[in-house]
Symmetry: C2
Subunit: 340 residues, 2 copies
């Protein structure tokens, strides 16, 4: 009997669930369900909704065996317990026992199979490793930065998610870049996230427009009423000096962070994903220049060990990477006990 | 037949070689040889000298089986090839094929056994994990910072050295702390190493003495002619404000670095070793304050998961940790293929 897994991408806005046949390539799901995440209804209700949707998918595949369910969730997620802690985008979910409650809801819906839970950044990186940039380069380890509302991060070693002792490895979005810099929601100042996220691009653009020295940004705001990362990207494409300068700051911050990650981890592949990675052409020159200056490991390897160069690349997979990674997680082969 | 291993600590000044019986605790070597490292004679000559000393040790233990030889060397060391690259303290050794040449020299001396090579910071951390701070806490993973002439770093995961794809993981001594800071030999500016090494303490003390605003440091230099890290430590013990201020800078830099490492790796144990770690009482308050402010992973785990707290501790083992770690490396059980 052919088998399949089910992946779930639980976001603050969208809840995506899909059935995946092992060996299929990206986005070739057997079936999928897309729902809004009813955050306000509370975690118990959302988990029940997930379980019902999974039962529906499973009933539609009666001649196949469900090997497991993988769930990618916003973090921090305590592992192995599977407990959520203080999620900024899911108020009221703090200390929710996600793994246990989800297993109970699945059993209640009559679905019996192993359950795997991981943070969303980790499962997206797993997909990128197994089916994206990692497989393209022929490596099974990578470090990924995801530039979205915040900056997500994940480390994959030997084809498995590296979760750390408590499930909280891969928070390099909160590496300190400028110690006396902008305040971050995490309590630190000068985090990577406050210089290299879509939120940061918008903040920098608003600041430049307010200052009166960035006429292009100011004019855009006056004509459209908004100045988000997409607007800054459009202005950069038109050659606007101030928009380009914002992406240079993004690149410098990323380069400093990557230099630290390369010096610490010495992996062969670092992937930059998320919506803001679409502006690769604008931030990557500064990023690579900074990395080359600040990491002697990067220089040494790429000058001398040319058959095993260190690669910094944009993500290959699209927005379904989290869903795909959750489905891969459910295969179980990728699970590694947290190191303690 | 009882067995033993031989560990070698190859330094820029001293060459230490010892025979170790598995299971023995720290510093209980069966026999040891301490020699000066004749750097000027060239690497081939030093390697031959090592092989002869090993033959001598082995001849003194005729009724025991030599299981393997472990060699800790200054890095960067390319693995698995075992080639040295651009060593600042061993001029003329660049691109030396240490593993191959050492194996040939051992064969020439009539010693036949497996050979393991690793960087000195890595083997010292292995010893600290297996027989020092790691075993004291009951964990088999840690990240270590060694504060000496420079700042060494190593990562141990699941009882094995994490070498990275090219043998160059664990260069967190070159994490960027202040992007526009002091120039480092590695080509970067503002590295941890230029704020938290013995060399950095001396530089900061000299600068303070020159500035005319640090009377205690100035008076010490005038009366002794020198102002090294040990002198700054003595002045700090006497309550000298400027000496204490230097250790506060050391602590802040270490705290920023540790916050990044905790956020990235999420291990349970971080060990600070090396000569300068003797000033723990003076730098650790600022270090822990900075870490607590800058790492929400540290705060979250230590406030909520109190049975699995993250510990930051001084090294337990003394200056023989490198020798001991090299001997442990030779047991082979700790060797893990580099992740690629």
């Amino acid at each position: 009997m052919d088998s399949y897994t089910i992946g779930i991408d639980l976001g603050g806005t969208n809840l995506r669930i899909a059935a995946y046949a092992p060996g299929a390539s990206n986005q070739q799901f057997l079936a999928r369900v897309d729902l809004p995440t009813r955050v306000g209804a509370g975690p118990a209700s959302v988990v029940k909704e997930m379980a019902e949707a999974i039962r529906g998918l499973a009933e539609g595949l009666p001649r196949m065996e469900l090997r497991g369910v993988g769930l990618g969730t916003p973090g921090p997620l305590e592992l192995p317990a599977g407990i959520l802690h203080g999620l900024p985008n899911l108020p009221g979910w703090d200390r929710f026992e996600l793994r246990r409650e989800f297993e109970c809801a699945l059993a209640g819906a009559g679905v019996r199979c192993p359950v795997h839970v991981e943070s969303d950044a980790n499962v997206a990186a797993l997909a990128e490793c197994v089916l994206g940039a990692g497989s393209a380069l022929g490596v099974d380890s990578l470090c990924m930065l995801t530039l979205g509302t915040g900056v997500g991060n994940a480390i994959i070693l030997g084809g498995a998610i590296f979760s750390g002792a408590h499930g909280m490895a891969g928070e390099a979005g909160h590496l300190t870049i400028w110690p006396d810099g902008v305040a971050c929601n995490c309590g630190n100042t000068g985090c990577l996230e406050v210089y290299a996220s879509a939120t940061a691009v918008r903040r920098m653009a608003e600041g430049a427009a307010d200052s009166g020295v960035a006429p292009g940004l100011k004019a855009w705001r006056e004509s459209t009423g908004a100045l988000d990362a997409q607007a800054v990207f459009q202005l950069a494409r038109q050659g606007d000096r101030d928009a380009l300068g914002i992406f240079t700051t993004v690149g410098i911050a990323l380069g400093i962070a990557l230099a630290g990650l390369v010096n610490t981890l010495d992996l062969r592949l670092y992937v930059v994903g998320g919506g803001l990675a679409g502006a690769w052409e604008f931030f990557s020159p500064a990023m690579l220049r900074e990395l080359n200056t600040r990491s002697y490991v990067y220089r040494l390897v790429n000058e001398r060990l040319t058959d095993r160069r260190i690669a910094i690349v944009p993500a290959v997979l699209g927005p379904d990477s989290g869903l795909l990674g959750a489905a891969l997680l459910a295969l179980g082969a990728q699970s590694r006990e947290p190191e303690i």
